[in-house]
């Protein structure tokens, strides 16, 4: 399999040339219950950077995110045309193996959703379903991933307590760690901080910025300031179409399209 070496550093913003596209979307059209939700999407999401999808409510940004790990498959009356290439492989190809595709992408949803198990079992759930049985390996995974999300010190003495005993901010970090435990290449965030308080939000944002050296991160957000704070690239979606895609500062400070201008200035929300 083709692997990319990490080109990006923390100064990704200063890199003038766009990096290798990790995810490539070609002529993607999504219909849900006969409605044309996503229209002719063509995109190349770069490696090792944070790309934010912004746009007004109901514009299709979550649908766009969910098509990336084929989570739309299970929804009713969904028709998807076009292709999504991850590392050059079409995940919508007929012989594509869905569970394997999803394993490559960690999803951080709007609200943290701990599985009805202990903290330890939550983290190891992914590795266990993929066949990891070795207890020492599992213990290592738990420690590494909890340290990754800065939760280790807080929970190391109660790993076998229920995950629901954690605060909501801790739960969201646990969910991130759980996603990372299956060693994804891509992290998808669906308004992942919308249920969190400002301090937990900041923790998650900083974590994502730290993680981008190793992962490609795609976030859906409706908070423009968050997009400004964390992202390297911004995709502006309006009415199911990509209006503008570019570097964060270009989109926010110097938008080319009239609709983008209005959105960025806060005239449309």
């Amino acid at each position: 399999m083709h692997t990319y070496t990490s080109l990006a550093t923390k100064e990704t913003q200063t890199v003038t040339q766009m990096q290798l596209p990790h995810i490539q979307i070609k002529d993607l059209n999504v219909h849900i219950e006969g409605k044309h939700i996503l229209k002719n999407i063509n995109l190349a999401i770069p490696n090792n950077s944070i790309t934010s999808i912004i746009g007004p409510s109901g514009c299709g940004k979550t649908t766009l995110l969910k098509t990336l790990n084929r989570l739309m498959d299970d929804s009713k009356n969904v028709k998807i045309n076009g292709s999504v290439l991850v590392n050059g492989e079409d995940i919508y190809a007929k012989d594509a193996e869905v569970t394997h595709i999803r394993k490559k992408m960690g999803l951080l949803s709007q609200r943290p959703f701990p599985l009805p198990m202990s903290i330890f079992e939550n983290i190891t759930y992914g590795p266990r379903i993929h066949g990891q049985r070795d207890k020492t390996v599992l213990k290592e995974i738990v420690e590494t991933q909890l340290k990754n999300v800065g939760l280790w010190e807080e929970v190391k003495d109660r790993l076998h307590h229920s995950a629901t005993t954690l605060s909501i901010g801790q739960q969201q970090r646990l969910c991130l760690a759980r996603g990372l435990a299956v060693q994804p290449e891509i992290i998808l965030g669906d308004e992942s901080t919308s249920a969190l308080d400002p301090i937990s939000t900041q923790t998650i944002e900083n974590l994502l910025i730290d993680l981008k050296s190793e992962y490609t991160i795609v976030l859906v957000t409706h908070i423009l300031r968050q997009a400004r704070r964390v992202s390297d690239y911004i995709i502006f979606v309006y009415n199911g179409e990509i209006i503008e895609f570019g570097k964060t500062e270009d989109i926010l400070l110097n938008p080319q399209n009239e609709i983008t201008k209005q959105y960025v200035k806060g005239f449309i929300s």
């Binding site: 989570l71 999803l107 609200r111 599985l115 009805p116 079992e121 759930y125 379903i129 996603g179 998808l188």
Partner: protein, 284 residues
């Protein structure tokens, strides 16, 4: 526009209606238990519980209803276990594998609703006619099969309602970690475990109290139910037979039998509640 006064009045009326309904139901429940206690307790002896009917039991002579107590236990226990073994996979399949909006899901749920509402005498009659065709006589096994069929819809519908309450996020979480549907189903199972006891309780309650389903299929016997292929006594039928006697002694025993049946159900209810709350507490 309604004034604040009339709104408050309606609020009051609604509250009174609800309280009346509550009092009415609780009151009638106590009345039932009171009557059973009042009429049955004097006849409740150790012999009633520990012996089988001796000659002349039904005209007021010695014996007990151990045959019916055991028969009911076996019948209800076996059918509940079987109904869960069959019903659980159906419920899981309908919720974790089948698209909720598909014809299959909708038709089968409708079907289970209909089966849920069919009176047990119909189940009994159908089972009876099949048994006659096959040349099988009334037996414990016949009863178990009939009552299992009767309780499967209860298990499926109860679990279905439970599974529906699970947030879609749970499915999305496991799915996005790369879980297969079966692996997701296992998590769903873990999630509904406390509710599983409610389904068991409902099924057991329906099974142990059923008369019509067992009347034709299980028969009745004064012997202890030792074999699946022999007729077996059940408590509701024992109550029925004793109650139809003109002898006061036997009628009193009918109430004592009802008391035993109520007591068994009480114990089962308490046990399931303890188990369910323990599950909830330990749910991680």
């Amino acid at each position: 526009m309604s004034t604040i006064k009339s709104r408050l009045r309606r609020e009051k009326i609604a509250k009174i209606l609800m309280q009346l309904a509550g009092i009415g139901i609780t009151g009638s429940l106590f009345l039932i238990i009171g009557i059973i206690l009042f009429k049955g307790l004097p006849y409740l002896t150790w012999d009633m519980i520990s012996q089988t009917p001796q000659g002349g039991f039904y005209i007021g002579k010695e014996g007990g209803i151990l045959n019916a107590i055991l028969g009911s236990f076996y019948l209800a226990g076996l059918s509940t276990i079987l109904a869960c073994l069959i019903g659980l996979p159906i419920a899981i399949y309908l919720n974790a594998y089948v698209d909720q909006t598909s014809t299959l899901a909708r038709v089968s749920k409708l079907l289970f609703d209909i089966l849920f509402g069919i009176p047990s005498i119909v189940y009994g009659a159908i089972a009876f006619s099949i048994m006659i065709t096959l040349g099988i006589r009334a037996s414990l096994l016949g009863g178990v099969i009939t009552i299992t069929l009767l309780t499967i819809p209860i298990v499926v519908r109860t679990l279905d309602e439970l599974l529906k309450t699970i947030p879609l996020d749970l499915k999305n979480t496991t799915t996005s970690l790369g879980a297969t549907r079966w692996q997701t189903a296992q998590i769903l199972l873990k999630y509904i475990k406390p509710g599983l006891f409610t389904a068991l309780l409902l099924a057991f309650g329906r099974a142990i109290g059923d008369v019509a389903g067992v009347l034709l299929t299980t028969g009745f016997s004064d012997n202890l139910p030792l074999y699946l292929d022999e007729p077996a006594a059940t408590l509701p039928l024992a109550i029925f037979f004793q109650l139809s006697s003109p002898i006061p002694e036997v009628q009193g025993r009918a109430y004592a039998s009802a008391l035993i049946l109520t007591f068994i159900i009480l114990i089962i209810v308490i046990c399931t509640h303890i188990l369910a709350s323990r599950q909830k507490k330990h749910r991680l």
